[in-house]
């Protein structure tokens, strides 16, 4: 925490954070929640991201690397370790004998559900600190922000893509 941007501005005196600082700290808090839930199941954020992507996709290694913004070799290692733990499976592509499809194994599906459920509990508990009207307002504003941002960056925010299109 505490990246305190600017170099210029002094820390605030009141009990209100700067918008930038607030969003930065909130991001650390929220990803910290995810990390703690993951650690409770002895798994890393990288593995959680992998399993999260595979929840609604069965991509090739190549697509997987692109989605996670990793080098192909990093994806190989990530999938290797997940496969060794029985969380994912490699399957041959029927249309391209060079390609390898990656899918969730049952263990992986239950694990990601558990972690995601715990994470949701944590975030909802955090939101419960606000009165209902504020909670709704925050949720709306965050959505609005993301929708415009995602549109400009070619991100599919609601990515539930066609499993098996190969």
């Amino acid at each position: 925490m505490a990246v305190r941007p600017g170099g210029a501005a002094a820390p605030p005196l009141s009990s209100e954070l700067s918008p930038v600082d607030g969003l930065a700290q909130l991001s650390f808090v929220i990803l910290g929640m995810l990390e703690r839930r993951a650690a409770a199941d002895d798994i890393s954020i990288a593995q959680i991201r992998l399993l999260g992507v595979l929840r609604d996709r069965t991509p090739t290694m190549n697509e997987l690397a692109r989605i996670l913004r990793l080098d192909k070799s990093s994806a190989t290692g990530l999938v290797d370790r997940a496969e060794r733990r029985g969380l994912v499976r490699r399957m041959p592509s029927v249309t391209d004998r060079r390609a390898v499809l990656v899918g969730l194994a049952d263990n992986g599906r239950s694990l990601i559900s558990e972690v995601a459920g715990g994470f949701e509990t944590d975030v909802l508990a955090l939101l419960d600190r606000l009165p209902p009207r504020d909670r709704q307002a925050l949720s709306r504003l965050v959505s609005q922000l993301l929708v415009t941002y995602a549109a400009d960056h070619g991100i599919d925010l609601f990515a539930t893509s066609d499993p098996e299109s190969r």
Copy 2:
């Protein structure tokens, strides 16, 4: 991205994310901005966190590890690598000959300022997507959320602590 919690709920049909999903994705976007600015200066998030903490503190290794929630040995390695790059300095404590104080070197101070400045630019550009009233509302809600959360978790949100108390 896409951790999509729950296992229960289906993805939304409208153009509004669930509150949990929205906050999670927003967190990834914001920390991604920080990571990209850091990478532009060829430095990691871990190093940025270290330098960020040292902006307004000169802690012992022990305190540093506690603040960053790392094992002492991890802090040793982190500071080793930062020191090798001339970003921080180790200094002896005058009151406890076992202890080692860690402080920013000039290079470290200019580097963290640059990264933090760029990050601030990015986040402000993101916030500019909202009309001013919404922007203010979001900022207020985020602050409010953090203040209550921090109070309950013993986190000093406005940490500008006494440099040199040893």
